[in-house]
Symmetry: C2
Subunit: 577 residues, 2 copies
């Protein structure tokens, strides 16, 4: 359908929604925001409009949706949105991005930034519907307490199959700090989560169960120089297809990294108490692919989450009868809800994944919280049935469920566990920082809290256990990733861009009639990081917060025995560029 | 007994206990620590020896016991100890002080500072016994899980009636962030709690159920100029007895302030949602005194917690049959576990108080946590039986109990409640900061977190709702209180000192052969605050943390309608002296 859309001639605007007055205003994009997009724009708006010391679930926080700069033309895996706000999990700046179809529909609607303000005047749940005429609120009391999947089904029934939807589950309704915001993939599964940092709780605090983006009757965003754009797009797509890593991720998905992490002794195991796991092969990317292929039915080892993506690193995991259990089953979930809990069965991990998805909570944060709970004796490592029970506790909102749903750090505090793998209140993902020290630097220093997508170093050809040079490596990665997140580009599109680095400038110049240089990725990345750091500074963050948990600096990680020993001076110098 | 003690000729030493190796070393007091005591000394040791960013319940934190500079000679209400460490509740510097008999016994043992280091090599519970020969560890597995009262009874049976004991209850064993450390009063009730900031959890992390201080065969600390000391002591005692406030507190205890707070619309009511309470008269100091007097038996409206105290602001609250329910019943408990929960019956509050005492948890923090829980719907305001049930949950260590036992801030985060009356993670006490703005400045800016004892302003003759001048008033109070806390002087001895301010220097000069000036109180206070602020800076605190909860700056407090509007510049200037 969208290929036949006309081209819009007007610039994208800022849509400002006040949930207290239920009013919607469209405003021209301010000059200083125009050259920003995605992560960089969420950071800028936060710093410009949200008091950094505000209560994250109070009326002064804002929830932001910003498509990346390249969104709108089905460039391969470049149609992602950034969701932003002050994080209830970290107390600092937060950007969580997601694929799916929301970015495209926002760009067709001509939304440069959606800014959701205030808290409702009275308790209740609403669906915000945005369309060519502006938008309106619909009562959503019938969706209250429903899982993400049932909610999406009802909304699609009501609004048709062409809309995009961003929505929360019971986790966001309960304002749990591990709650994320789900988005529809191209098959309309609500499976693409802006997961990290609790932005689902912020959406819950705004009384919004869902936002429907209906681009019916709208137009594609304009391209200043269509021929130049087309030429650059061709070069980019060719590079993506040619990069050897693209084929790896197409075949094995992100789970390809399990063997690699294991080989470095960096596979988080039993609440980050070891870096290897005896059942690694059972959860590897290779086994994952084989399992999907062996089972007939709805399974798919290589699935695209966004229209136009040629990498297709996502997947659809079926049960033994071929029925879809969850999509996608990603490495970080396999690590955090699998190896980290001593669970070595993909079928079990898939069920845990689906349960968490339906509640609308971050599988990384919850997996880490369950690992901490296991250390506290609330489940035996390996007991996936008990882990599933604990997810049911979260869904039911019991006191124990609310503890876990508040994330790993709170879980550790409440249960009296010192071993909490988190920084700035946000849990680490599937890379042990003692064994992959560059990623440890990223965890420690990213303004986002522990987050591998902020700058992963595991694929770089360095000695990952040597503390030397890791800060510089992390710096490069963090800058690039903040750049990609501003473009709306998936981490894997970076493979393509790395082969033809000048193509980013070519695409942006053709799209916007700009004249940016070939270092635009780094320019965008550095600016985003600088703004995020300033927001965090105003929120009360200092170098003391740019540290890994103390125990990782003194307790050696089996089997290889590293501690995290990157000097504090190196950590403090990451942002001195 | 103690009056017949000989005078020691040696200086007090530093006793250093390693709970991992179970070794005890006595060291001369370093030069730079000699002129410090109590709060100032705990701050100095923390800054000198504890990495500010360390994990509070890990091996790098230390638990400190330091008698104040005037301790050891039964000056009226001047024999208090300061307990110190990095707080698991606030993540910053912590000093909590207590009366009772621990200070005297420590001074007879010649302990300038007791420094408890490391964590046990294996799980288990021990009693640390300190006596004239040094000290030793005794297994305490029989005390595990016992309440403070049963534990104290067994220890007294074992070690005799003359020892002092500092001990924790189940709260400290569970490492709950609201756990305190109880000390025996002069009737050997374990009722004098170093309550605030979770130092009971730090003691629990050290594997210590109790510390027994046995001064048998020891001597009183030396006095350089006995005649001068005696003369100064006489002047001080006379002043204490003459000050009109002393009589008020002798007759009514701290509960005298209930009517005063009510008159300013500052009585915390129903989770700090109002400043008046319709049943105020039923919980006033006057009713408290009358109730105690009317009931025969063990009750006592005017009780001294330390030998030699002439103020006797403590009390013993009996039930209708005259049997002691709790001692003391203080204003802050009446406010936080009474009015703050909508409870207007002294008998009910006394039972809640006793239950919390026996678990060994801070009644202020827990009262605030229960208020937050009430707002979350877990109890109805006024339902004291349900509040008692919730205390039983804490004791049993259920998930809900652990949430509450982790304090008001964590309770709010887990239960999704924005209205949490706390600063730096520590709950406010019985003074609404919107109505008593000087105390609000203290709550906001004290390095200790919200704490009325750090600088209470309610008795000053100012317009408490006028934001002007409150920062300067708080500054003066904070300096003086940090000074009193360094002397080991109860807040009420300050009444006496205020009439004869030069007597502090006279006492110190006579005691130590010093030559300090009459501004020594302020010199000690400023130095303590400066060191505490530096520790907090290194721990990651910034001006963003020197703020009241955001809602108090925008939601007006009934019945008089104030918001907290002291300008942020004023808050940031409190420590610019």
């Amino acid at each position: 359908m969208t290929d036949s859309l006309p081209i819009r001639t007007t610039n994208a605007e800022v849509w400002r929604v006040n949930v207290r007055t239920q009013s919607i205003a469209r405003e021209p994009t301010p000059e200083s925001w125009q050259r920003l997009g995605g992560r960089g724009l969420t950071a800028r708006i936060l710093l410009d409009e949200v008091p950094a010391a505000c209560e994250p679930l109070g009326p002064q926080n804002k929830l932001l949706f910003c498509p990346g700069l390249l969104v709108g033309h089905k460039l391969s895996s470049c149609d992602r949105i950034s969701v932003g706000g002050k994080s209830p999990l970290t107390g600092g700046v937060k950007e969580a991005n997601a694929g799916g179809t929301t970015g495209l529909q926002m760009s067709y609607l001509g939304i440069k930034a959606l800014i959701i303000e205030e808290v409702p005047a009275q308790a209740g749940w609403w669906v915000l519907v945005l369309d060519k005429n502006g938008g309106h609120f619909e009562a959503a009391d019938d969706l209250r307490g429903l899982g993400v999947h049932d909610s999406a089904g009802k909304l699609i029934e009501r609004h048709g199959t062409k809309v995009a939807i961003a929505l929360i589950g019971p986790g966001g309704e309960m304002k749990l700090a591990a709650a994320g915001i789900q988005n529809l993939d191209k098959e309309r599964r609500p499976s693409r989560m802006a997961a990290r940092g609790g932005l689902g709780a912020v959406m819950g605090s705004k009384g919004l169960k869902a936002i429907v983006f209906d681009a019916e009757g709208c137009a594609k965003p304009p391209i200043a120089h269509p021929e130049a754009f087309k030429e650059a797009q061709k070069r980019f797509t060719k590079a993506v297809l040619e990069h050897p890593q693209s084929a790896v991720y197409r075949d094995y998905g992100t789970a390809a990294v399990a063997r690699l992490a294991y080989s470095f002794g960096a596979l988080p195991t039993r609440n980050f108490s070891a870096g290897d796991f005896e059942k690694m092969e059972a959860i590897s990317g290779e086994t994952l692919r084989q399992t999907i292929l062996e089972r007939d039915g709805e399974g798919d080892p290589s699935h695209a989450c966004m229209p136009g993506c040629t990498i297709r690193s996502s997947n659809v995991f079926p049960d033994v009868n071929g029925k879809c259990v969850v999509s996608p089953l990603e490495y970080e979930t396999i690590a955090l809800m699998g190896t980290n809990l001593g669970i070595g069965e993909l079928d079990a991990i898939a069920r845990l994944n689906m349960a968490a998805d339906d509640i609308g909570i971050d599988t990384i944060e919850i997996g880490a919280a369950l690992g901490v709970a296991a250390e506290a004796g609330l489940l035996q490592f390996g007991d996936w049935a008990r882990a599933l029970e604990l997810l049911h506790e979260i869904r039911a909102g019991t006191p124990l469920g609310r503890i876990l749903g508040s994330g790993a750090t709170i879980t550790g505090k409440v249960l009296g566990v010192e071993h909490v793998p988190a920084v700035k209140g946000q849990a680490m993902s599937g890379y042990e920082p003692r064994a992959i020290k560059g990623t440890g630097v990223t965890y420690a220093t990213s303004p986002q809290g522990a987050d591998h997508t902020a700058g992963l170093t595991i694929r770089d050809k360095v000695d990952h256990r040597d503390p030397k040079g890791q800060a510089a490596l992390s710096r490069t990665k963090q800058i690039n990733m903040a750049g990609y997140d501003s473009l709306g580009a998936c981490i894997f599109s970076g493979f393509g861009f790395s082969l033809v680095p000048d193509v980013i400038a070519a695409l942006l110049n053709a799209r916007y009639d700009w004249n940016v240089g070939t270092d635009i990725l780094q320019v965008l990345g550095r600016e985003a990081l600088k703004i995020e750091r300033e927001f965090n500074r105003q929120a009360g963050f200092t170098p003391a917060h740019d540290r890994l948990p103390e125990y990782m600096t003194r307790e050696a990680l089996p089997p290889l025995g590293p501690v995290f020993d990157v000097p504090e001076e190196d950590l403090d110098g990451v942002f001195n560029w």
